[in-house]
């Protein structure tokens, strides 16, 4: 209704809300679409309609921050509504309301599990639409809460905001979600309506959370590469990135996470280099796959850091089949999944092996790890299942180059891959759940963009070759901090499947933990956590040792994560467990380790993935490193001792 006066977003006063709420409606039924449009207009919302899910997704991507809420039909010919739901949640962190003429309980349940804010049964009545703004407000509130609870704020801030928190309904304990948020205290939920993804006005009192999308992260990574990881300071990175609305603080915290990730990767890389060829066997077969994006697994294997048997076993475990078999991307997922759940077998030894690399000093890694450590393709395939987007992504990762500054890239890539993979590993979900940052939309193109799938990278690495590699990859995921190996430490690792997790960052961790568990390394976990903290401080080796009993911090304590499936294992060394509901429950949780970097935007509880366990850890010293400790004492410890 153009005749109506819309209050421009920027000047929206509280009293105007929800007038002007920007709604995107997606439905292949044009009749319904028209009716919805009319109803929404009468509610004084700004409506955009779309009859194709793919078009809607593009629109959302192109115009980030231009929509407040999405209404989507469940049954659509070009894309499943649930898939769209997850993608939107991951990438844009917008509330999504599902609609369908089919109101069966199981379908509604699916919607909720995939993260829908609400589920409307058609024919939808105008009254129902009048209230959809509540979902927008609620989400922002929750995000704020998460933000506050995230480790990014120091405790003082938290306390100060305590009063604010009280205002918010404590709907969820989002605390664990350490997202890359701008430390802005939002006192008024209403004002958050305007909180766009993009920071139009960094100096504004309310700063929306920055979504470290894949693209943004890539820009970040390339800026870091340009500067050199040692010289990469937030100010310069910010300048290079030249992203409007991005603040130095955003970059700084992201960089911090990235550094941790790199450390973890480098630790792993070291190990990986040492991986004997035998371990790499499978990897090699992968041929292109195994290229790990440049990661010379062979080299890693050769360095002998990781006992061949371990690697092989690890691979086997991960792949769910005898070593030497390459996991095809499609299989990967399955394997990964299987591995996660299945072979309890990932012996601890294996775990250890992985863990070791992680701990290694980063410097070593740089030498050993060739640039594209993880070839996206490899990762995808290797990691089994992580390759959400398909092998294509390797590209960006390759940029990562050598460990040095590059390792960061690789790590990021790995993290992302892992993340992606983690998310994607959920076979049941057709959606490529991807954290806003890490996850890449199901389109293959996205996949390995720098950092896209760290997980995937890891995974490939692990699968294809050296499990060690996975670790590095994994670690990023697990909490960024812990290299996979260490990360397992958290309880989540317990599941043998965890090892399988190597595929993604999380995988390592989980596996590690599982290893550890078997090996009774559990006690290490905690150590590892603290280690990570120290790692964050910049020293890898310390990880496992210093870790205090941070277990809790990882969020593993949440208990679930690892068990849940590949995702769990990934990266959730710490908090990871809080996988957002979006991700089909299980998956989302683990990968989050990398989230720190990626920061899913999905503030929703469901998206725990977003939480940056690692971030929190880092800040709280929780550090996910624990995993390393977990690995069988002999191997792991040796790693650490280095």
């Amino acid at each position: 209704m153009d005749s109506l006066q819309y209050v421009p977003q920027s000047s929206t006063a509280e009293i105007e809300f929800p007038v002007g709420l920007r709604v995107l409606v997606v439905d292949d039924d044009v009749t319904c679409l028209k009716i919805m449009e009319q109803m929404l207009r009468r509610c004084m919302y700004r409506v955009t309609t779309c009859s194709q899910a793919t078009v809607a997704l593009d629109l959302l991507r192109e115009k980030r921050g231009c929509f407040d809420v999405v209404l989507s039909d469940v049954h659509m010919p070009d894309m499943d509504g649930f898939k769209l739901l997850e993608l939107v949640g991951l990438e844009m962190d917008l509330p999504v309301i599902m609609m369908s003429a089919d109101g069966r309980t199981n379908l509604v349940m699916r919607g909720i599990r995939h993260g829908a804010c609400d589920y409307l049964i058609k024919p939808v009545r105008e009254e129902e639409l009048k209230n959809i703004w509540q979902h927008v407000v609620r989400k922002k509130k929750n995000e704020n809460k998460e933000y506050e609870h995230s480790g990014s704020l120091d405790d003082n801030d938290r306390h100060k905001r305590g009063s604010d928190d009280a205002e918010y309904a404590s709907s969820v304990n989002e605390g664990a979600e350490g997202l890359l948020k701008i430390p802005k205290k939002r006192r008024d939920a209403k004002e958050e309506d305007d909180g766009e993804q993009e920071n139009d006005d960094p100096a504004a009192a309310k700063k929306p959370r920055v979504v470290w999308s894949v693209e943004l992260h890539q820009q970040f990574v390339s800026a870091v590469n340009q500067l050199g990881i040692d010289k990469a300071v937030p100010k310069r990175i910010l300048e290079l990135m030249n992203v409007p609305g991005l603040t130095r603080e955003n970059v700084a915290s992201h960089l911090q996470k990235f550094r941790l990730y790199l450390k973890r990767l480098s630790g792993v890389a070291q190990q990986q280099v040492g991986i004997p060829n035998s371990c790499c066997g499978p990897l090699e077969q992968t041929g292109n796959h195994s290229s790990l994006g440049g990661f010379d697994i062979q080299a890693l294997a050769a360095s002998g850091h990781i006992p061949p048997q371990t690697l092989a076993a690890l691979h086997a475990e991960l792949l769910g089949r005898p070593t030497g078999t390459l996991v095809s991307p499609g299989m990967d997922q399955r394997l990964l999944q299987a591995s996660f759940k299945g072979p309890a077998g990932i012996s601890i030894d294996h775990g250890v092996a992985y863990g070791q690399p992680l701990i290694r000093c980063p410097s070593n890694i740089s030498k050993q790890v060739p640039q594209s450590i993880i070839a996206p393709e490899n990762v995808n395939t290797a990691l089994s299942g992580w390759s959400p987007n398909g092998p294509g992504t390797v590209g960006p990762l390759t940029n990562l180059g050598g460990l040095g500054a590059q390792s960061g890239n690789i790590l990021m890539g790995m993290l992302q891959q892992q993340q992606k993979q983690t998310l994607q590993s959920e076979p049941s979900r057709s959606i490529n759940v991807q954290p806003s940052c890490l996850v890449v939309p199901s389109q293959p193109s996205a996949s390995f963009q720098a950092g896209k799938n760290p997980a995937s990278m890891n995974q490939n690495c692990s699968f294809s070759r050296s499990s060690a590699i996975n670790y590095s990859l994994v670690s990023p995921q697990s909490n960024n901090i812990s290299f996979g190996a260490g990360q397992v430490s958290d309880g989540n690792l317990k599941t043998p499947s965890v090892l399988n997790g190597y595929s993604g960052p999380g995988s390592i961790s989980p596996s590690m933990s599982s290893c550890s568990i078997n090996a009774d390394n559990i006690p290490h976990r905690q150590l590892q956590n603290s280690t990570l903290a120290s790692t964050a401080a910049g020293q890898l080796p310390g990880f496992a040792r210093n870790v205090s009993d941070t277990q809790g911090s990882y969020g593993f304590n949440s208990g679930q994560v690892l068990d849940q499936g590949p995702l769990r294992n990934l990266g959730f060394v710490g908090k990871g467990n809080s996988i957002p509901s979006r991700f089909a429950v299980d998956e989302a949780e683990s990968p989050m380790g990398i989230l720190d970097y990626e920061k899913f935007q999905g503030g929703s509880n469901g998206n725990k993935v977003k939480q940056e366990p690692s971030m929190d850890f880092v800040e709280n010293g929780k550090v996910c490193i624990p995993i390393i400790q977990k690995f069988s004492p002999n191997d792991l410890m040796s790693v650490f001792s280095e």
């Binding site: 292949d28 039924d29 044009v30 009319q38």
Partner: protein, 145 residues
């Protein structure tokens, strides 16, 4: 006919459509949605519905003629038809869709074909009825009502 008579005629006709189950309350909702900013809303939506439904019915006929019928596809079409008919309040069409879906679940081709025929009938009926309704409304408007 004068305005009063036209109005009565329109009212009676509309009521009969409801009584006979051609339309349900959703149609009222549609009418309430129509306002000055969108005076032709109901007519537009209804015509959209007819276009879309025609397409769906044709698709259904084609799908059921196949050597090996893809029931999932058939079901998807019927589901959509059900959704849109319920959105405008075409109750009988919607009901036909529901029984159609049951036959789909059973993978009963005979049943499906029968339902398709019924669907076509209902669809034609409601189309005619609504067209008449619009004509009456138009007449009333022109007469000054």
């Amino acid at each position: 006919m004068d305005v009063v008579q036209l109005k009565k005629q329109l009212g009676d006709y509309t009521r009969s459509l409801f009584n006979e189950g051609f339309l349900d309350d959703q149609f009222n909702q549609l009418q309430q949605l129509q306002d000055e900013s969108n005076p032709e809303f109901v007519a537009e939506v209804v015509s959209l519905f007819f276009q879309d439904s025609q397409r769906l019915v044709n698709e259904l006929a084609k799908d059921l003629e196949q050597q090996s019928v893809d029931f999932k596809k058939v079901d998807a079409h019927v589901h959509q038809l059900k959704g849109s008919s319920s959105s405008i309040g075409a109750q009988r069409v919607q009901k036909a869709c529901i029984s159609f879906r049951n036959y789909c679940d059973e993978q009963n081709i005979e049943g499906c074909l029968k339902c398709l025929q019924q669907l076509k009938n209902e669809y034609s009926l409601v189309k005619n009825k609504l067209e008449t309704l619009f004509k009456l409304e138009q007449q009333l408007l022109e007469a000054g009502g």
